[in-house]
Amino acid sequence: MSRLSSTDAPTDEAEATPRDDTARNELVARLTAHLGEGLLESHIEPGVDVWLRVSRESWREAAAFAKDGLGFAYFNFLSGIDWMPSPFGREMDSQIDTILAASADHDDVSAPANADDGLEQGLAGGETRFQVFARLNDVVNGLGITLKVDLPDDDLSVDSWVPVYPGANWHEREAKEMYGFSFNGHPGLRPLYLPSEFEGHPLRKDYPLLARRMKPWPGIVDVEQMPGDDEEEDGGEA
């Protein structure tokens, strides 16, 4: 953990970390005990957050247990992720941006701007192109969890959460139209935002953003001067 600018925060964090850690560890332990094989992977960032990936079969059970067994009564949101990098190139992106990005590689950022790194899943892993993820909160203890589930390409469906959290209704309708997922047991997966005759699923990475396909993007045309720029100018300016 290298903080670029630090104040008195690290000491606060040192106090907070162990306490939060036990709470989150216990959470994962209890979910593991309940779901068994259903809990595929978990990732805890001490004192910050926790990510869990569950199997498709135990998706609704995970929600029901989180709500009734763990006190996560608050439904925060549900949405989808498409892990397939966009097949559209960056040639319409601002060339200034890409040049600057390539030359100003100060950090050990592994992925260069045009990397074709295939499927690379985020925290708590994953095996498929599409994932559904959702967030729940425990408003009493101020904890939040992110749950993820893999959806295989040949069957983009998962159990609906509406029976557990009625608030999932609109979120699932949105995920349906934006990604094309279907939710078993949902009371009516009508389009939410888009007109009913709309074709395609706009948030999928292979759905082109037409505005960007037709006209080059100007990009960073006026990078404003930041404090400390003068002493660490790292070249690459157009």
Binding site: S5, A9, L123, E224, P227, G228, E232
Partner: protein, 390 residues
């Protein structure tokens, strides 16, 4: 004997037939009432299809998307500093607050922290956008029950706060002022004195609204016991902000999960109300506005000196990772789930906006209410269309 019973039978049949006729005549036919898309109660373009039985609502179907701008898709092709320009337009009456959670999520991924002075100013502007936002609600709520004056008061006094925001950021509605690692500029000269004066004025405004609206008999009759949301229902629909605190849930992200802001350096209180009706939501918001002015006053008292920007690279590349940061925005909890693949642009941004969840309860909440109450309940839930449609 038989003749009497026959007569009885006949009269019974006749009575039954008469009853049936009356019933046929009184039988009401369902009617569909279309509210919006353009309607003053909707703060934008929300259409509500209400199926009525007489004066009572049988079912409600909100239709949105008239303003869907696809920010989640657009954010995927913009560099991190450019995204704030877009997300300013989500909740357009409390714009600055929209930028903060996104910037904080990016800061968490970059492991950067803003210097104390920047955090202080960020918190002040954050609370100021809350005042600018909720002031409008307080006036508008009166307007929805037929009182026009509070709305004029709201616009009059809101102007002072907008002027303060403009003096710092240069923008009245879309500040675009928050930066990864700090804020764009320091406070202008004389701003602190002016702010103290305005905060006093805003407290007066709250008193005025309290005297004008809260005690009003018509207002009480239109809001007390109307649109009651029990706490457990509110939680399972993901309501937030004053909507959930009005149902007695003592949860405020500013206090419980502080991130990158310094509310807890001050002495302040989270207000809740046990009733869960329209009045409770109005009352909680009124108290919150007062509390915000107090938070700002206290923050001005111990404003630290120092830099306003941490050392961040000029070209911002955010390391690969995932972060979800939420803050207690004027309308409720707003969060950004940012997935980065170490690029100039975010890989995926999920915008969790407060109004989307807050309004998703309407099909449940409006069932069985009377037509005029639709308007007051919607107004008391307080949503901004940009915050629903994103």
């Amino acid at each position: 004997m038989t003749s009497i019973s026959d007569r009885e039978k006949l009269s019974y049949i006749a009575a039954q037939a008469a009853d049936a006729r009356v019933n046929v005549e009184l039988e009401t036919e369902g009617m569909t009432l279309n509210i919006g898309p353009q309607h003053p109660a909707t703060h934008g373009t929300l259409r509500i299809i209400a199926k009525l039985d007489g004066e009572q609502v049988v079912a409600v179907d909100p239709v949105m998307g008239y303003m869907h701008r696809g920010y989640e898709k657009l954010a995927e092709v913009r560099t991190y500093p450019q995204v704030t320009t877009l997300i300013n337009r989500i909740d357009w009456v409390g714009s600055f607050a929209n930028e903060v959670p996104f910037i904080l999520a990016a800061e968490r991924l970059m492991e950067v922290e803003a210097p104390p002075r920047a955090q202080w100013i960020r918190t002040i502007l954050f609370e100021m956008s809350r005042i600018a936002n909720i002031t409008l609600f307080l006036g508008d709520m009166g307007l929805q029950v037929g009182a026009v004056t509070p709305a004029f008061f709201a616009f009059r006094d809101r102007e002072h706060v907008l002027n303060l925001i403009e003096a710092v950021t240069g923008g009245r509605f879309h500040p675009n002022f928050d930066r990864i690692g700090g804020i764009k500029d320091d406070l202008p000269a004389g701003w602190i004195t002016e702010t103290r004066r305005v905060m006093k004025k805003m407290r007066q405004y709250c008193d005025e609204i309290e005297a004008l609206v809260e005690g009003n008999e018509i207002f009480q009759a239109r809001t007390r016991g109307i649109g009651v949301i029990p706490a457990d229902i509110g939680l399972s629909y993901g309501l937030s902000g004053a909507n959930i605190r009005g149902s007695g849930v003592d949860w405020d992200v500013r206090r419980d999960n502080p991130c990158g802001m310094v509310h807890n350096e001050t002495d302040w209180k989270v207000w809740t109300h046990p009733d869960g009706d329209s009045f409770a939501r109005f009352w909680v918001r009124l108290q919150e506005t007062r509390e915000s002015t107090r938070i700002i006053d206290q923050l001005l008292d111990n404003l630290p000196s120092g830099p306003i920007m941490a050392k961040v690279p000029r070209i911002i590349k955010v390391p690969a990772g995932e972060a979800y940061v939420e803050t207690e925005n004027p309308l409720g909890v707003m969060g950004y789930y940012v997935i980065s693949k170490g690029d100039l642009v975010p890989y995926r941004v999920k915008i969790r906006s407060a109004s989307f969840n807050n309004i998703s309860i309407t099909p449940w909440l409006l069932k069985g209410v009377y037509v005029p109450d639709i308007i007051t309940i919607l107004a008391s839930l307080y949503f901004i269309l940009g915050d629903i449609d994103r």
